[in-house]
Amino acid sequence: MIPISWYLIFAAALFCIGLFGVLARRNAIAILMGIELMLNAVNVNLIAFWRYATPEKINGQVFAVIVFAVAAAEVAVGLAIFISVYRRRGTVSTDEIDLLKW
Amino acid sequence: MFDPITEIGNWFEGVLANLGLSPGSVTIILAVLGVLIVVSFVLIIDIVLVWLERKVVARFQDRLGPNRVGPFGLIQPIADIVKLLIKEDTTPFGADRIIYNLAPILALATVLLIWSVIPFAPTLVGSEINVGILFIVAVGAIGTLAILMAGWASNNKYALLGAFRTVAQVISYEVPMLIALLVPVLLARTMSVQGIVKEQEIWYVFLAPVSALILFLTGIAEIGRTPFDLLEAESEIVAGFHIEYSGMKFGLFYAGELLHALTIGALFSTLFLGGWRGPFVEQVPILGVVYLFFKAFLVYFVIMWIRYSLPRIRIDHMLNLNWKFLTPLALVVLIATAVMDKILINASTRGYAIGMLIVNIVIILLTLVILHTYADTKRERVGELRPTANPDAAISSRDKTPDVSTLV
């Protein structure tokens, strides 16, 4: 049997890898991939807690379904913005899109 | 009950348990054996499909087809396989090696995965999961990925263009297919494919003919057959996303495409034509396999018939057809079926069937009226006289001097 600690440590590790991706990458779409990893880690956490704490109530799974919908919406809008930025600036590297920089 | 396959399975399980293995390993060995048997069976039928395709297309085109290699050309697929195997295994310059080699494997694997949830007989199904319909959609989604990988890794702009068009077509047509797949789920109250077949006292093609038609059309679009075959239009983009593939890798794509057509046939007959249902199938379950494949080959023949009779649709017509016709129609049918299901909840089976059939016929008539009106409007707009150039007016005005008195 798998204790819940294994799932929680796995989810924490996935979250931190995604966090590193968001903070350290140059390309904007790679940052979006890091955000996707973080959202997936959160979902694994939710489902693990649902299974181990209250498997007869369905609240954990509903929360995870709403997270799916929000992630899909955010990726669509984010990529549309990146394509628009690419048309204006010719690049999606975050250190070349610095017009507002001090 | 004469059920040879379950008897053999139980006997083999007994043999393995007597050899002293734990029950976990016995399950795993039986599962692996089951996978090998189903995959071999389906791939052998795939070889027969190669021969069948070429014979049928020949007969449609008023010629004979392969008849030199073996009686009636039956050994022809073996000759094709040998030819593909002895071809040179090239990789284009600058191609992404791992992705290039992985794409045809993934394309064939996703087609084989669908066969794991199709029930062959009342007691014979690969894996009875309670979300079988969603599994089929998920596997189709992975198939699009394989096409995109193939187009990208070939380092060829025509392959990439072909891959873009293919993915646009496949993911567009997944939407009405998913909605049309929900109607049998609604009628059978379960998402498991074996459950849907077990609930079909009356075949669902009589209860939901519009959904059956939508599933049929979107299935043909998903597999990329004519009239939706601009994915490999030789005259337009030189064979599409599999230009750079030759030899056995192309063989995997080709075999995968034929098998996908038979899989859509099997899926259609499972969901709408009753699957393994037929006379005497409760007493002799092995007959279920015969009935299923008979129905699957019937639908496959209709798909081939359509392929060899119709020309190709243009890409903007195809996308218009999907988003402006099939998706609203599928949504309307789903809503109507759900509403009628609530109204007829206490009716007998016969009354339920007649009610659903009447609703579908009403929807068909309404659609035809709307299409007729739309076509009439278009025809009027095309038929009205447009202002044309009048040569007499041009000649007569050339001799006049310009009238400048009004300009001062």
Binding site: I2, P3, I4, S5, W6, L8, F10, A12, A13, L14, C16, L19, F20, L23, A24, R25, R26, N27, I29, M33, E36, L37, N40, V44, R51, Y52, P55, E56, Q61, V62, A64, A69, A72, A73, E74, V75, A76, V77, L79, A80, F82, Y86, R87, G90 | D96, I99, V131, V137, A138, G140, A141, I142, T144, L145, L148, W152, L160, F164, V167, I171
Partner: protein, 169 residues
């Protein structure tokens, strides 16, 4: 070590390895493909956790739609340059530090939770999570309002994405 524990360790290692490759690869298409591998690993975890429906939804939505969308966006925003650009920006050491500290502190805090080593109880066979989920998403006492709001959010995102990415000539 039972079979299921070995299986868990194998899948977790594969998923975390693929995630590491996502955030370190310079070639973006390879990063997208490794992202697909790690998303598939998460789907396998959902199956182990008896949430089969969510596993299928994960494959359909994340791999079948979001990953393909990302690959399209990568192909549309590529700049073919002679000089290969580095993968990380100038803050990557701080990012590594923050990630490691965060992981350490999360594990330490969770360790202080008394039920950290809980074992799963068997689900009663009468409970069907799929049916419960369907009823919960449309019943007025449960979650029909968040469900409708999520669909409104998706509609807004759809219209917004089309408007933002529209090529105005």
């Amino acid at each position: 070590m039972t079979f299921i524990q070995l299986f868990f360790i194998f899948i977790a290692a594969a998923t975390l390895g693929a995630a590491l490759l996502v955030v370190t690869t310079r070639n973006l298409i390879h990063a997208a493909l490794w992202l697909i591998v790690s998303l598939f690993g998460v789907a396998v975890f959902y199956v182990i956790l008896n949430a089969g429906f969510l596993a299928m939804v994960q494959v359909v939505i994340y791999i079948g739609a979001i990953a393909i969308l990302m690959i399209f966006a990568i192909m549309l925003t590529r700049k073919v340059s002679k000089v290969p650009k580095p993968a990380f920006n100038s803050n990557w050491i701080w990012a590594l530090l923050i990630a490691v500290v965060m992981f350490g502190s999360m594990t330490w805090i969770l360790n202080m939770w008394p039920q950290f080593e809980a074992i799963p109880t068997a689900i009663a066979p009468s409970i069907d999570p799929l049916r419960l989920l369907g009823v919960a998403l449309v019943s007025p006492e449960a979650y029909v309002l968040p469900f409708e709001l999520a669909s409104l959010l998706l509609l807004a995102a759809l219209v917004g994405a089309i408007v933002v990415a529209w090529e105005s000539r």
